[in-house]
């Protein structure tokens, strides 16, 4: 699905954020909850106003999973199978929410990388994250 050039661009973006999974993940979640408050319905365990520690912990977990996806772009289904099971059987996040998360992810990347977040990188990253979302929701039914 991703061309060699697109994979290179995805890896390029990841290199720029690797090591910052917690802070990027926390910002991602904060933006998600601020811009799309209904998404908080999936995070009742974090409370109505998640604190920084909770955001950092959960954000890191999510970004680390994205890192796994980056390492296995040629075999997302196998690499993300346990997470796909989790989403299908336990989390059951409505698929309409993934584009919201992807939008916030793009904004996080854009605000940190600014001009370095070229249109080519944005296109590759958007395609990549959309592919991840497809895999995570594939076992829903």
């Amino acid at each position: 699905m991703l061309s060699a050039q697109e994979r290179a661009r995805v890896a390029q973006v990841w290199d720029l954020i690797a090591g910052h999974e917690a802070s990027f993940g926390a910002e991602l979640l904060l933006r998600l909850f601020t811009v799309y408050p209904s998404t908080k319905s999936y995070f009742k365990h974090l409370g109505f106003c998640p604190d920084e520690t909770q955001l950092l912990t959960h954000g890191q977990r999510m970004l680390e999973a994205v890192g796994v996806a980056v390492q296995h772009m040629d075999n997302l289904r196998a690499a993300l199978s346990p997470l796909a099971d989790l989403h299908a059987q336990v989390l059951r996040v409505d698929p309409s929410n993934f584009p919201l998360l992807i939008q916030c992810f793009q904004v996080v990347l854009a605000s940190h990388l600014q001009g370095e977040f070229t249109v080519e990188m944005q296109a590759a990253w958007d395609k990549f994250l959309t592919g991840v979302a497809v895999v995570l929701t594939e076992k829903y039914r």
């Binding site: 904060l30 854009a110 940190h112 990388l113 944005q122 958007d126």
Partner: protein, 147 residues
């Protein structure tokens, strides 16, 4: 009707004052055409859209991007009255341009991303929320007269 709080209005207006409409407009439309290539279907007359650099450098894309973003300037001035403000444009997009309203949402999302590249930390979560609310409301207003 969408209600914007005083804080949301201040956030939108203050950022808008710093936006280079020509530059940002061109980038927004260019990125839309690259990231979602099917949106090129509306721009057959625009000439060379064959590569990312062709699209981003295309003078017609830049000019049209500026035109589209300028109309957002109108939205910023009439945040309490978007449906009426965009009534004519809504009819135009339905009757003459035949644009699927889903595209308005895609463009709106692209505006937030490009603003983030320009304004970085200043484009806080609350700033993003205000802008995404505005672009979603404009998208709805543009779809309102569809029949």
């Amino acid at each position: 009707m969408v209600h914007f709080t005083a804080e949301e209005k201040v956030a939108v207006v203050s950022l808008w004052a710093k936006v280079n409409v020509e530059l940002v407009g061109g980038e927004v439309l260019g990125r839309l055409l690259v990231v979602y290539p099917w949106t090129q279907r509306f721009f057959d007359s625009f000439g060379n859209l064959s590569s990312e650099s062709a699209i981003m450098g295309n003078p017609k894309v830049k000019a049209h991007g500026k035109k589209v973003l300028s109309s957002f300037g109108n939205a910023v001035k009439h945040m309490d009255d978007l449906k009426d403000t965009f009534a004519e444009l809504s009819e135009l997009h339905c009757d003459k341009l035949h644009v699927d309203p889903e595209n308005f949402k895609l463009l709106g999302n692209m505006i937030s991303i490009v603003l983030a590249t320009h304004f970085s930390k200043e484009f806080t979560p609350h700033m993003q929320a205000a802008w995404q609310k505005l672009t979603a409301a404009v998208a709805n207003a543009l779809a309102h007269k569809y029949h």
